[in-house]
């Protein structure tokens, strides 16, 4: 595939009058893991949510600039946000399985999307891709809420994969998990990136360094007049460069812990 998966031009996001993020310009490339890092309130999650129009669900939110997905403006009036979210799946900070069986959690999306084919096969394939199959194959009808936190998160990834998306957005997917479960999710990300494009927001800089191919550093600037903070993109480069020899002093200060 040629060209970037996402091409973001001068993106600003507003909540009412408040500008949460300004002038973001970056590209997300296929079959890569892109990490967003930065201090709290820097707008990294806000930008992530623009990629599958999750911000539409917040009434006062609006954007300026463009987010192109394979050259198509994601915010064009003709675009159906539900279709967008099928192609661009999301995994959240806290595992949020439905209070249903493991099987039904995974089958939920394909059923709603009206996907044809053998549902058992779709469920098995999704659970295998999420590296959960062996642990749950004998209890598919058990409640998903009985799984451990790490298993629940992998179930959520399986659920996201079940509808055959191209992109997986991950919003701090490991912040509620222990190091072992975190390691499994990170391994999983490496395994599935051959087939998917992954964008991950993480507070854990070492995680960004370990898993990502490219990394974007966001920070906040304070508007003295209104005493508000606006997020902005500082630097976007290959992860190796970002963590060994960043170009911008603000990135340097953040990754070396000299921030603020």
């Amino acid at each position: 595939m040629t060209g970037p998966v996402f091409d973001v031009h001068d993106l600003s996001v507003y909540y009412g009058q408040f500008r949460a993020v300004r002038d973001v310009k970056l590209q997300i490339f296929g079959n890569e893991i892109t990490a967003f890092i930065g201090p709290s309130g820097c707008g990294k999650t806000t930008v992530l949510r623009c990629f599958n129009r999750m911000n539409d669900l917040i009434e006062s939110a609006r954007i300026e600039g463009t987010v192109e997905y394979h050259g198509v403006d994601l915010y064009d009036r003709a675009i159906n946000p539900v279709e967008v979210r099928r192609r661009i799946g999301m995994v959240f900070q806290k595992p949020n399985p439905f209070p249903k069986s493991i099987y039904d959690n995974v089958a939920f999306g394909p059923r709603i999307a009206g996907m044809k084919g053998d549902m058992d096969e779709i469920v098995e394939r999704s659970l295998r891709r999420a590296a959960l199959w062996d642990e749950v194959k004998d209890r598919l009808k058990s409640s998903a809420t009985g799984l451990s936190g790490g298993q629940q998160q992998r179930l959520c990834i399986a659920r996201a994969l079940a509808v055959d998306p191209e992109v997986i957005l991950m919003d701090e997917p490991c912040s509620a998990l222990d190091p072992i479960a975190t390691g499994r999710i990170e391994d999983l990300m490496q395994e599935i990136k051959a087939e998917y494009t992954i964008v991950i927001v993480t507070h854990n800089m070492q995680q960004a360094a370990r898993v990502s191919d490219r990394c974007a550093f966001f920070t906040t600037e304070v508007n003295e007049l209104s005493d508000t903070r606006t997020g902005m993109l500082v630097e976007f480069d290959r992860t190796e460069t970002m963590f060994s020899n960043p170009a911008d002093e603000r990135t340097e200060n953040y990754v070396t812990g000299r921030f603020g």
Binding site: A209, F243, S244, N245, V255, T256, G257
Partner: protein
């Protein structure tokens, strides 16, 4: 935690400078001992090298500890990597001073030709200056100075070549026997090598400040050979 880490980095930097100071001092004392055929001073310097080794090892262990425990990144990471490499360059320079002192023992009792004496003095001065400038570049994070060391080292190489020529002349004129000539040639080589280590320290300083890595000529030759054989393969007519 972060503040403590950055304090440790400052301590590390101080240790590297202290190590270099010890070698710089023994280099100057070593030349004096050699020219004055002061064997007591030579012995003291040989014994003193153990302290240099000890501090170099401490620096290395400190670096490994910081790498393992602190996950250093960006300029902090480059500083630690540079410190590991520099500690070994400096420590090796100290060993070369020790070698010179052992040669001084072997040369004991042989009067030195005044021309050779003058050249040893000159080489020592140049190398000493180069070494101090390399450490200044490190202490001041001065990339320009670090990059200039390579050219400055050319003077040392020229002096070394002149020194070797002079050894031949003096030897052929019957001034010194072969055995002594070889010892003297080795002494010249030791000074010349310390100059090379100073240049290497400069390269590490450049890496620390900017992330620049030296292009090793061997690696460049290999890359060129590989590119050429690839071209030859693609151009080969199909049979």
């Amino acid at each position: 935690m972060t503040r403590q880490f950055h304090q440790e980095l400052d301590d590390l930097r101080d240790d590297v400078i202290r190590l270099a100071g010890m070698v710089s001092e023994s280099l100057a004392k070593g030349t004096a001992a050699l020219l004055a055929t002061d064997l007591d001073a030579a012995e003291a310097l040989i014994a003193g090298d153990d302290e240099i080794d000890e501090l170099a090892l401490e620096i290395e262990e400190h670096c490994f500890r910081l790498l393992a425990l602190q996950n250093p990144l960006a300029s902090d990471l480059r500083h630690i990597i540079a410190a590991i490499r520099m500690a070994s360059e400096i420590e090796r320079s100290g060993d070369l001073v020790t070698n010179t002192m052992k040669a001084a023992r072997r040369l004991y009792g042989t009067p030195l030709d005044p021309r050779l004496r003058g050249l040893i003095e000159k080489m020592s001065e140049h190398v000493h200056r180069l070494f101090r400038l390399a450490i200044d570049a490190y202490a001041d994070r001065n990339e320009g100075l670090a990059a200039a060391l390579d050219d400055m080292d050319d003077d040392v190489d020229d002096l070394h070549a002149e020194y070797i020529r002079t050894i031949f002349e003096v030897h052929e004129g019957g001034g010194i026997p072969l055995q002594i000539s070889v010892q003297l040639a080795l002494v010249g080589r030791y000074y010349e090598r310390i100059g090379d280590h100073a240049v290497n320290i400069g390269e590490r300083v450049r890496y620390m400040v900017t992330g620049w890595l030296p292009e090793h000529t061997g690696a460049a030759r290999l890359a060129a050979r590989r590119a050429m054989s690839q071209d030859a393969e693609t151009e080969a007519p199909e049979t």
